[in-house]
Subunit: 248 residues, 2 copies
Amino acid sequence: MGRIVAVTNLKGGIGKTTTVVNVGAGLALKGARVLLVDVDAQGNLALALGVKPRRTLYEALIDGARAADCVMSARPNLDLLAADESLLSAQPTLSRRPDWSRVLDQALQPLKRHYDFIFVDCGGSMTVLNVNALMAATDVLVPTTVEHLSIKGIEKLFKQVVSLKSGATSIRVIVPTMFDPRLKQSTALLEQLQATYGALIAPPIRVNVRLSESSAAGQTIYEYDRRSRGALDYAQLVERLSALWSFR
Amino acid sequence: MGRIVAVTNLKGGIGKTTTVVNVGAGLALKGARVLLVDVDAQGNLALALGVKPRRTLYEALIDGARAADCVMSARPNLDLLAADESLLSAQPTLSRRPDWSRVLDQALQPLKRHYDFIFVDCGGSMTVLNVNALMAATDVLVPTTVEHLSIKGIEKLFKQVVSLKSGATSIRVIVPTMFDPRLKQSTALLEQLQATYGALIAPPIRVNVRLSESSAAGQTIYEYDRRSRGALDYAQLVERLSALWSFR
Ligand SMILES: Nc1ncnc2c1ncn2[C@@H]1O[C@H](COP(=O)(O)OP(=O)(O)OP(=O)(O)O)[C@@H](O)[C@H]1O
Ligand SMILES: Nc1ncnc2c1ncn2[C@@H]1O[C@H](COP(=O)(O)OP(=O)(O)OP(=O)(O)O)[C@@H](O)[C@H]1O
Ligand SMILES: [Mg+2]
Ligand SMILES: [Mg+2]
């Protein structure tokens, strides 16, 4: 019940939002009750799901609204607590509070019993809200492209998680994304990742333009093109995570 | 003299670091005195240039060291004020200062007269330091991939710049990156960008795996593969920017 999964990597543009949407939607299709929370002021979760939220996380964190009142239904079994650019001005305000790194955790606690999974979509850099997401998380899922700079980003994230949560055991899975088996650099780097992190490495999500098209269309990959490589790869990841988190 | 150019876009992974390295290095090869400043705690500028900095921006902003003492020479005419993960812990500390959005500007002022250009590499999200970069900037350069979510990110960035700098005139150029003319979605979106932003849109940087390889190798694209598409496209961008900023 109420597992809070932070989906994060210091590196930008490596598939965090795409993973939150398609893992969350995949679990919801299996009957799990899922909440997606966006802590990135770009507010890409709402765009990628094709919905227009009336209320956002800003109201729950800054204006004192109940988080439950800011949640909207995005799909059956799939709720969304969205973000927008108002969150940009929240960061300096939040960091002046003595409990600045626990604000999100406090807002999400009352929601935990209504959901099987709460996924938090983090932005690129380590903002005040990304620290909040890590503090609230019971589990951390790390997407990464199979490239030099992204892999370096993982090492730094581990250090960060260790210093925030006195240990890195909450990092449960590393998901290689946008994997292109035709590039010899990619195949070599994937083997390096598997050698370094062993069983933490999930099977890669292959590069697939249908994933980019689906987010532009505001649909999950299952709605946009059920038979695409992207849909097959994310469905396989959902199965692996269901087993990891003992869901059905 | 001393133009401060923030290279930023709320969207992650769209070529900010690659643009800072190859525009900075291109201008340095033309004889400009260039400083690159990294405000992203990933510290990817140093990695992409293949150098190991002894001191970082953290010391100049938090420990009170003179910024000039934290600068290292990366190439002829090309200096670097690097970042590392210590910058992660700086954000909450900085935001408690009353002048929190001007800290970088104050640190860079004494350096302005030694350089023709100072490029600031921003991280993905709108962190305290990204706000600092925008406040210090005389000019803003916005890289963007030719994709739906990145283009949406530009609209939000404009709003942000307008609210921080009472107007968006400092946004001088938008650089389409990773452009793949074979994808029909890309060509259509590029035309949409040109229709919306007109002369602000520079000719696109085409997708070119040599750019990814060069950053993994710690080299500029001119050092790694002078005849590649990436080198030609960035050299052309450097020419356009030299004309825009009346340099030689
Ligand atoms: N496996 C894939 N194959 C092809 N394109 C993909 C894949 N996964 C994601 N994309 C596309 O790559 C771009 C970046 O993905 P996404 O926005 O999910 O990354 P992000 O890590 O959330 O970025 P940010 O750092 O800005 O939050 C998007 O246009 C997305 O549609
Ligand atoms: N034109 C291009 N063609 C192919 N690959 C590219 C191109 N430009 C950049 N890349 C690669 O894409 C990845 C992302 O680029 P880069 O790190 O410069 O983006 P960024 O916007 O700085 O990311 P972040 O948000 O993490 O700071 C890198 O591996 C880089 O080498
Ligand atoms: Mg995202
Ligand atoms: Mg970067």
